[in-house]
């Protein structure tokens, strides 16, 4: 271990703008700021959760990190290497260190390939190993993710969603990557299967010292698996803190709203006066509100919020927020964690 502990992944000012102009000669210029000046870091061995509503840019962020999309601006430093500075060939080589688990287990496996070939693909791509070694490693992986080795020669359509997601996870960890980006890995699954997959991920993390970026819109899953959590709204991180801090002591009104949207099973514990149900819809990303993007839906918004965007600052140790009026400790809120 080096003395100076540097994070495994450092993202600075990451921005992705999609050009959605229409018309033959682009008369109608339109841009979507899918990801807007996002900065975060991920420590080795931790799980970094990203939550937000649909369309807030969390999946785009994940795709940018694993280089499936080209960013518009910003830097991504992975394991001390700025990914911009790599050549195409070097980047291809580097890819084995960060892998992705996809959301939809039905479209993420090639229907014409056997499970064996799906899991073997990363190994074949990056390593020159004998057929025997390859078989051994693939069967090992199949066992690791909790499937029986007889499944190796079946096709994806013969499996359930949970089993398919296990195959996807096996593919992602095949090369023993340092970072795995899980893009809503459980949101397409039944609730009963979700916990199995989450446990599998946790177990793998321990065994292989993996680092996860866990993208989700379901707060319970994020709370279960993450060490630190970032909340995104309209392409920006509005709040980022450790799991305990974020769930017990949210500073941003949006986080507060999200938290109070978690259903509480026991009706006696529900306190209506404590609930801050968010009103209104997420604004159009092509036509962003002025000032703080959240102000049209924020119950605490003032004139200042309409005019000036708040800076994203660290207001307490390891707790950053982008709000002019961060909530003070324990301000009228249900306890969760």
């Amino acid at each position: 271990m080096s003395e100076q502990k540097r994070p495994l992944l450092e993202v600075n000012g990451l921005t992705k703008i999609f050009d959605v102009s229409t018309g033959l000669f682009k008369k109608d210029e339109k841009y979507v700021h899918a990801v807007n000046d996002v900065s975060f870091y991920v420590e080795e061995g931790e799980t970094f959760g990203i939550v937000g509503e649909s369309g807030c840019g969390k999946t785009t962020t994940g795709n940018l990190v694993v280089q499936l999309l080209e960013k518009t601006e910003g830097t991504i430093v992975f394991d001390g290497v700025n990914l911009d500075e790599l050549s195409v060939k070097e980047l291809r080589e580097k890819r084995k260190e960060f892998q992705m688990v996809f959301q939809d287990p039905f479209s993420s496996l090639n229907p014409r390939k056997r499970v064996f070939d799906i899991i073997a693909e990363p190994l074949r791509t990056h390593l020159k190993i004998s057929k025997k070694d390859l078989e051994e490693r693939v069967f090992d992986l199949i066992k690791t993710v909790g499937l029986h080795r007889s499944y190796a020669y079946r096709y994806p359509h013969e499996f359930s969603g949970g089993q398919r997601q296990r195959i996807g996870i096996a593919r992602a960890i095949a090369l023993r990557p340092k970072l795995v980006v899980c893009d809503e890995p459980v949101s397409a699954l039944d609730v009963s299967i979700q916990s199995q997959i989450l446990n599998l991920l946790k177990q793998l993390q321990e065994e292989m010292n993996l680092t996860f970026i866990f993208i989700a819109h379901g707060l319970p899953a994020v709370r279960y698996i993450s060490d630190r959590v970032a909340v995104m709204y309209l392409g920006k991180i509005v709040e980022c803190a450790s799991k305990e801090d974020l769930f017990n002591n949210p500073k941003h009104p949006y986080t507060e709203g999200l938290l109070s949207s978690i259903p509480i099973p026991d009706p006696r514990k529900r306190k209506l006066e404590n609930q801050r149900i968010l009103e209104g819809d997420i604004p159009n990303a092509m036509n962003l509100p002025s000032g703080c993007h959240f102000h049209p839906r924020c119950p605490y918004a003032t004139e200042l919020c309409k005019e000036e965007a708040p800076a994203y600052e660290e207001i307490a140790e390891g707790h950053s927020v982008a709000c002019h009026y961060p909530l003070s400790d324990g301000k009228g809120l249900i306890k969760y964690a």
Binding site: Q99, Q103, D104, P111, R114, F116, E121, T125, S150, H157
Partner: protein
Amino acid sequence: MEAEERVKELEPSDFSMPKRRTIRNWFRLLWRSKTGLVGFVIVSLVTLIAIFAPFLAPHDPLEIDAMNVHQPPFWLEGGSMTHALGTDHVGHDILSRIIYGARVSLIVGVFSVVLAGIIGVVVGLISGFYGGWVDSVLMRLVDSFLAVPNILFALVILGVFGPSVMTLIFVLGVTNWVQYARLVRGEVLSIKEQDYVRAARSIGVKNNKLMIQHLLPNVISSFIVISTLSVATTIILEASLSFLGLGIQPPTISWGTILSDGRDYIATSWWLATFPGIAITITVLGIIFLGDWLRDVLDPRIKQ
């Protein structure tokens, strides 16, 4: 029964190693499918007839029997078993001509479709996969091919190089690749957005491997369907080129030439055009059946 089977299937003790597709295995699959079997029988029969034409044909196809012109098939009045399917206006034996004609028709039909298919699939894959200006350039090329009438294009090429079986295959191949290119491009556009393609990309799979291993196997079904259908149109197109005098030149015989020869006498000697037409229909049906079966066998999702 089905439920029982499924339980058995899921039993972990059932450790089946990869089923290698041996020739025996293929035949077993073929045996199980009725259409596949019918298609296979027809296609192999026609192929064998084409290969062994000299032994099967009762007459030399070029032999002229001047005494028996416009003789009807044997079951009609005036017909005889010497010319089982009748004779044409100069006394050629129709049956022998159809048997010999199978050679050129099959060769031209199959090889020009293969040629068109290869060009079309390659162009379609590249165009759909890379997108951007590559796509624009290739698709404008496709458009310009569509704008030129096939017959006109064929006339020019055949006029320059002179008609022969090789040039005919070339011409038909080069005029027909466009439909495959468009089809494959469309399929690729939707498939490349699938997560498994993005997964392969995030693994670092190289583009050409990605196209061959992930895209090609998933576009092949629609390709097989279209290409087997177009074997038929190709045989007909060859006939119309022959009719214009630019296709197969006598004394070479194809079903197309027999058909177009017979067209002039359709009112009086219907058998001249009918029998080669039936030969084309049966062959094409066989190829379509075989193609259908092949598509199903290649798709793991369809239970065999």
